[in-house]
Amino acid sequence: MDPVDVAVLLTVFGSVLTFGGAAVWALNWAVQNGQFENFQRGALSIFDVDEPVGQATDYFPGEAPPPAAS
């Protein structure tokens, strides 16, 4: 095998180990950390008391805000 072949093989197997390993590690961390336990809470994590669920946060400048959801 010439040096280029070695470089290719190292890159391919290195990538498999790095990316596969990273994915397994991240998934394991997320499970251990309880990230997948309460999905409802997860979906609500982008809201807060000032911009709660039910609050539209964007409309055309200088125009009326949207009416409440049907």
Binding site: V4, A30, V49, D58, G62, E63
Partner: protein, 503 residues
């Protein structure tokens, strides 16, 4: 002893003030990325128009070697993919990561360096290609001397995103954060490996195009797609004030994308001299992409059910939902295109070009337009100057990309059918597709008009020209009259004219 009892309004004020301080910490670097991204969008649009017109009017601008089709087309790709899309993507990563981690951005000066490095790289790429220094490797056309700047620039951004995530104060990792972390982890490695193996220690033979298309497809799939989808996962629920339809599905979709998208690149080499199993594995990977795409589609579209009337009111929502619909469409189409029977007709035709633009523009650019309309007023503390110009931008972009996609899909399909028929003279095929290519230029002009409207709005906003708007949905204005002086100084850019808390 006085006892401080926080009222509901105080809690709301605290939350709003915290959010405003996070936005303020991002202002400088994120605006630097946004401004330069927009510059490259305009450069890319001009180059696109020249390339497009040359295809139906071949004597257009023939006097200069700089403006030959082979150079202009490649320079266009670098300007819009590496310039506009990637810079906007990095702005999205930084702002969304700060907001979702609920922490301020630290050491912003290094991000100016990152932005400068990426822009030097893009300038070298676009300039180098126009001056005849391109590498002729599709998507990696940038001259080799531009490559280290790209790696250093995105490396710094990746480091900052990771550091922000580590300092997070929100315990839950929102789906957008998963997408962003994955993208900044994947892309620097992807780019480094591809350039090393093609230019610095070049592999030979068919391995070179294999690496080339592994990179090209993953540039979209593991860099722009996760950031675009992640941005929509934040903007749609946030604008509507409605949680995502199925959060469980969104997480499943992310992991399915992580598992399958990187397989898909070899379907570009169907029919080429590569081992058959490679192309077949890619076709299988492309089919498996139905899982994450359907998960994202269900989520984005079901969240909108019952709320479509909101499109009338929100500029960001219009662009973002258009982008989300285009994502579903382009992904379904891409999976079908990976089938060998389908490829027999569409490969090497304008059909593929239409597909690529539906992805890069209809999906990615439209979602980033939506992000700009939402994010910029919150960074500058200033509302958009003109609703009319926003509407002009939306309709020019939406009609432009729809016309573009439709004409090239029809032209490409029949081009492929005729190319496969040995009885059809080649010149007849050229004559048949010429009017469609002219229509493509009209679509390009429409999109460029939209970009000019967008640029005017952006410049007026950044420069602080035009009428100030204090009553808008996007601005947090500190109610100084009712609160202590230290409150008023904590967020210096906010104007104290009136109390503005959301009704």
């Amino acid at each position: 002893m006085a006892v401080n009892v926080l009222t509901r309004d105080d809690h709301r004020l605290q939350a709003a003030r915290h959010r405003a301080s996070i936005d303020l910490s991002c202002r400088g670097p994120v605006l630097a990325f946004c401004t330069t991204a927009l510059f490259w969008l305009l450069v890319g649009s001009a180059l696109a128009l020249i390339a497009s017109i040359k295809l139906h009017s071949p004597y257009f601008l023939t006097g200069s070697s700089v403006l030959t089709f082979g150079r202009v087309r490649m320079a266009h790709l670098q300007a819009v993919a590496l310039g506009w899309s990637s810079l906007a993507a990095m702005a999205a990563c930084l702002w969304l990561m700060c907001r979702l981690s609920r922490v301020e951005l630290t050491y912003p000066r290094m991000l100016y360096v990152a932005c400068a490095l990426w822009n030097i790289a893009t300038t070298l790429a676009v300039g180098g290609i126009l001056l005849g220094d391109g590498t002729s490797v599709e998507w990696l056309d940038a001259p080799v001397y531009a490559q280290p700047f790209f790696v250093a620039g995105v490396g710094l951004v990746a480091g900052w995103v990771a550091a922000t995530f580590r300092r997070r104060q929100e315990s839950h990792v929102y789906v957008t954060q998963w997408y962003i972390l994955a993208a900044v982890f994947w892309f620097p490695w992807l780019y480094t490996v591809a350039t090393l193996m093609i230019f610095w220690t070049p592999v030979t033979g068919v391995v070179q195009p294999v690496i080339n298309w592994w990179f090209n497809h993953n540039f979209l799939g593991l860099w722009l797609t996760p950031i675009g989808v992640g941005t929509a996962y934040y903007l749609i629920p946030k604008i509507l004030g409605r949680p995502i339809h199925s959060y469980y599905l969104s997480i499943t979709g992310f992991w399915a994308l992580a598992l399958f998208y990187s397989w898909a690149g070899m379907h570009h080499l169907i029919g080429g001299p590569i081992p058959a199993w490679l192309a077949t594995a890619s076709t299988v990977g492309s089919m498996m992409m139905f899982i994450p795409v359907i998960a994202v589609a269900i989520n984005h579209h079901m969240t909108m059910i019952g709320y479509f009337h909101r499109l009338k009111y929100s500029p960001s929502l219009r662009f973002t939902v258009f982008g989300a619909i285009a994502y579903t469409a382009v992904s379904f189409q891409g999976s079908i295109e990976s089938l060998k029977d389908f490829s027999e007709v569409t490969h090497f035709t304008h059909y593929t070009v239409g597909h690529a633009h539906l992805g890069a523009y209809g999906f990615v650019a439209m979602i980033f337009f939506g992000l700009y309309y939402y994010m910029i007023p919150r960074l500058t503390g200033r509302e958009w100057a003109s609703s009319r110009l926003i509407r002009l931008h939306f309709w020019c972009s939406a009609i432009g990309i729809t016309l573009y996609f439709t004409t090239l899909s029809i032209a490409g399909w029949w081009q492929g059918r005729m190319l496969n028929n040995p009885n059809v003279p080649f010149a007849n095929i050229i004559a048949y597709i010429q009017p469609y290519l002219a229509l493509r230029s009209i679509a390009g002009i429409l999109m460029t008009i939209g970009h000019i409207a967008f640029a005017i709005l952006f410049i007026v906003n950044i420069a602080g020209w035009g009428r100030l708007r204090t009553a808008g949905p996007t601005l947090f204005v500190e109610p100084v009259q009712q609160h202590t002086p230290e409150v008023a100084t904590s967020v210096p850019y906010l104007r104290p004219q009136s109390v503005h808390l959301h009704q």
